[in-house]
């Protein structure tokens, strides 16, 4: 048992490091990327994929396909990126990424989890591919339209309602970003989740405190989040989002009749101290000089 514990911790820690390294490498190579999202959420994604989620297995890392076209009556060969999460089953979990601005992190996490081919990341933002910058439902690990923020949680609630009506035991897990708590639809969704007793929903929210314009407290306050969510009928845990034991523990708790929200306090520069001087503009990193890029490149070796 102790060895098992060591094993998953090792695997999760290795994956989190791998996510940061891959996203940094990618950012240096492409002169831009969503770095702070990798810093804040690497442990969340790693713990979800390697410890919390009960997903179907895949036959080795999947190579991202070509863009299948948009869904419609005339598109018979259309498919979503759900295959990266294995076959669906009533007792299996589902994972939905709501802020698809985190797609780069999700792709890196899929590689670390052995679900996506390593070379798939080279397809990022490439014309005619599915490894899109802000992923859509055809992108690896995605199967619903998110990224128009606030819609992911509502769609997941509908899916959880459907699964509840069918008597399925699997959970519907949603990755949410803190900026989404500024959106009315998010609260409409929580209200509906409580009203319809969707205790089969488990939300992990990355509370890194930053959004596109900068520090959230300079844009719009969302706190006190814990009590707001509790007042909406959620079971809430607020944890250190880099603490993999806490992340795993929250994902192992049996349902108590309420939807569960895990608020993960995180650091947008975690593991990349050199990022800190860019604050408060962390949303998207683009290098301002060759020197800065060289500094970041050097840092890859240190991760």
């Amino acid at each position: 048992m102790e060895t098992d514990n060591l094993k998953w911790r090792d695997a999760v820690t290795r994956s989190a490091r791998g996510i940061r390294r891959r996203v940094l490498e990618h950012t240096v190579k492409n002169n831009g990327g969503y770095l702070s999202q990798a810093c804040s959420s690497a442990e969340i994604f790693s713990t979800l994929y390697l410890k919390v989620l009960n997903l179907g297995p895949v036959d080795g890392p999947i190579k991202p396909p070509k863009f299948p076209g948009v869904p419609g009556a005339g598109n018979k060969s259309y498919k979503t990126g759900a295959e990266f999460h294995g076959e669906k089953a009533p007792d299996r979990d589902r994972l939905y990424l709501s802020p698809s601005q985190y797609s780069l992190v999700l792709y890196a996490a899929l590689i670390e989890a052995g679900r996506m081919d390593e070379a798939g990341l080279d397809e990022f933002n490439r014309d005619g591919g599915v490894v899109e910058m802000i992923g859509a439902e055809h992108s690896p690990g995605m199967e619903i339209m998110t990224g128009s923020l606030g819609q992911g949680i509502s769609q997941a609630a509908g899916i959880a309602m459907g699964r509840k009506l069918k008597g399925e035991q699997g959970r519907t897990v949603v990755f949410l970003s803190d900026g989404e708590f500024q959106i009315g639809q998010t609260w409409e969704a929580f209200q509906a989740m409580a009203w319809h007793g969707l205790s089969n929903i488990l939300v992990y929210a990355d509370i890194n405190g930053y959004q596109c314009d900068g520090k959230m407290l300079s844009v719009m306050n969302i706190e006190p989040l814990h009590s707001r969510l509790e007042a909406f009928g959620m079971r809430v845990f607020r944890i250190d989002g880099h603490d993999i034991d806490s992340l795993a523990e929250c994902g192992a708790k049996p349902a108590d009749g309420r939807p569960t929200v895990v608020l993960c306090d995180t650091d947008p520069c975690r593991g990349m101290e050199f990022l800190r001087p860019r604050g408060p503009k962390y949303h998207y990193v683009r290098f301002t000089s060759p020197e800065e890029r060289a500094l970041y490149e050097k840092a890859i070796l240190e991760i």
Partner: protein, 335 residues
């Protein structure tokens, strides 16, 4: 004329009996959109979503992905105006079988600008994968469920409620992509939709008595607009085409027909009756019809202008239509 009451309310209960996948979603307008009997009959399949339309539409997309058939009911304005991004991304893009029933289309409500869906067809038909249907009588309302479900993707339906005239025989269901032929003629092709058809029938009867030959079609599928019979009828209209809709002429039936005439090179004169780039206000239906040119007399004048003739038709000559009382047992409130 036969008047039927609460057609959808009663029909939906029967219709859903053998369809366990059908779920009804309500946004606090349960009696007002005639889903109260469904709620009472199948409480487990009735999902109360509160006054929260954005969540309701994304939620509907989610539940459709699990194999259910969500039937979203609220006032038309609260579907397309409040939740457009949600419809576009959570429903239309993934081409999910979410059926949206928009009540109080156009000026059918005295609720004023906030409650009047004047540009819903224009907005909804511009969404890829979306089908747009409109009901104009009790038979349309009775049979539009089958029509909507026979279409694989998302469908937006302009729905009528309360006391509704029966213009078409119950044995002739609303068929997607197929206009209803009311009269055959050669001078003018008249295309009407929704509540305008009843009004148009009065005018066309009076005009026929004056020797005008009108081919009158009732349009129920606004998108896609490809009914060969309708297109042939437009093409052969000797003097011109008239559209009549309970909607702004920008983007609705009038625009659809204009696009059809232009793209197919049919070269027919077109007169569009409908709201002319204006919001409306709260008043009775007969008053608003007259004010915005959606009454039988407006149609008579349009025909006179096309034919450059005068028929001396008076209001008296236009046979009585049924006017549902503002306060009626068939409605939950005066809206």
């Amino acid at each position: 004329m036969k008047i039927l009451s609460r057609v959808h309310a009663k029909n939906l209960v029967e219709w859903a009996r053998e369809r366990p996948e059908a779920l009804v979603l309500s946004a606090d307008l349960t009696s007002s959109t005639e889903i109260d009997l469904f709620r009472d009959a199948y409480p487990d399949r009735f999902l109360s979503m509160g006054i929260a339309e954005q969540n309701m539409l994304s939620f509907a997309g989610g539940i459709a992905r699990e194999g259910f058939l969500p039937l979203v009911h609220t006032f038309a304005v609260f579907i397309y105006r409040r939740a457009y991004d949600q419809i576009a991304m959570s429903v239309a893009y993934p081409n999910l079988p979410v059926k949206m029933f928009g009540f109080l289309p156009g000026i059918t409500t005295p609720g004023g600008a906030t409650h009047q869906a004047l540009e819903d067809i224009s907005v909804m038909r511009s969404l890829p994968n979306m089908t747009v249907l409109e009901t104009g009588d009790a038979t349309d309302v009775l049979t539009v469920l089958d029509a909507a479900v026979s279409i694989p993707g998302p469908v937006y339906v302009r729905m009528l409620r309360g006391e509704i005239p029966e213009l078409f025989d119950e044995k002739n269901p609303l068929l997607p992509g197929k206009a209803r032929v009311i009269s055959r003629g050669t001078d003018i092709t008249l295309l009407s939709s929704g509540i305008c058809t009843e009004e148009a029938m009065r005018a066309s009867r009076a005009l026929a008595a004056c020797g005008v030959s009108i081919e009158h079609l009732h349009i129920t599928t606004l998108k896609p607009f490809d009914d060969p019979e309708t297109i042939a009828s437009i093409a052969k209209a000797d003097r011109g085409v008239i559209t009549m809709e309970n909607h702004t002429i920008t983007g609705g039936l009038g625009t659809i027909v204009a696009e059809t005439i232009a793209e197919r090179g049919l070269g027919r004169k077109l007169v569009r009756l409908g709201l002319r780039d204006t919001f409306a206000h709260g008043a009775s239906l007969p008053y608003l019809k007259k004010e915005y040119g959606l009454d039988a007399m407006s149609l008579v004048k349009a025909v006179e202008s096309i034919l450059e003739a005068s028929f001396d038709i008076t209001e008296k000559d236009l046979a009585d239509i049924y006017l549902a009382p503002v306060h009626s047992e068939a409605k939950a409130e005066a809206l």
